[in-house]
Amino acid sequence: MATKNMRVLVVDDMKSMRMAVKKKLKVLDITDITEADDGSTAWSAIEDSIGSSQPFAMILSDWNMPNTSGIELLAKVRSDPRTKQIPFVLVTAESEKDQVMQAVKLGVTTYLTKPFTQETFNEKMDQVFRKMKVA
């Protein structure tokens, strides 16, 4: 798997889950990771990164968050021409799976259902990397 130098944004209001996602990214040698604890903070970080030498190459966001949720962040990212190409992975609870169609319509790259193993995480990342190569 490529993309060792990619910069990734991990968004979750729970630090424990941000750490859990970071742990799994590090297994894939992805270490340039920025954290945000809600969609609003994430959007500020995304805007700041636009035009920088290292913009975000992927966003992994929880669905349920205070202020701006993951789905609202996805909508914002997809509606802005500067960010609409960034691969976006939504992390959902099993009970939110029914809502995934909404995310698909908005252009989510893929989604991860909690709890997830390293193997499942790797498979999802593989999907993202393949799409990145095609794009």
Partner: protein, 161 residues
């Protein structure tokens, strides 16, 4: 205890153990040999509680951790070794409950259980003790991995059939 309550209990217990195994990479098994008076004596320090409401039952599910079991499980979840418990670490308890509850809610609601959304809360501090209030049925199951122990404590109101 109603049949619906028993189904919920079985499912929530297996979802908790599965969540810990998958997300935290820690395998805990039911310690049936430990008597209630023994595990009640332990010093617990973190507890996550979620209220459960459905047309068929009302109750609560609590995860109750000793400090060593909580540090072990959170270290597994986050990929770093932790030696003390802080606010950030404690939110992991709520997250585990959320994941397990969400899994069970989805699964059972497909069979008409109508379980409502719920938000867990977490309490932590030294020497938390477990006490049942009233005469409603309760289930307490200790889970162990080596010397580490945590409890799943489930209470249900008697009023539902």
């Amino acid at each position: 205890m109603s049949e619906a309550s028993v189904t919920f209990i079985k499912n929530i217990i297996s979802a908790i153990i599965e969540t810990i195994e998958i997300q935290c990479e820690r395998k805990y098994t039911a310690a049936k040999a430990i008597k209630e008076e023994e595990f009640k004596k332990k010093d617990y320090c973190v507890s996550g509680v979620i209220g459960v409401t459905s047309e068929f039952f009302t109750g609560s599910v609590a995860l109750v951790f000793t400090s060593d079991s909580f540090l072990d499980i959170m270290s597994g979840m986050m990929g770093e070794e932790y030696e003390s418990i802080d606010d950030d670490l404690v939110d992991g308890c709520a997250e585990l409950l959320n994941i397990a509850y969400g899994t069970v809610k989805k699964k059972l609601n497909e069979h008409g259980y109508k379980i409502s959304m719920a938000i867990p809360s977490v309490v932590y501090g030294d020497k938390l003790k477990i006490k049942d209030i009233g005469n409603d049925p309760s289930v307490k199951i200790p889970f162990c991995s080596g010397d580490h122990i945590f409890l799943v404590s489930i209470n249900f109101e008697n009023s539902h059939k």
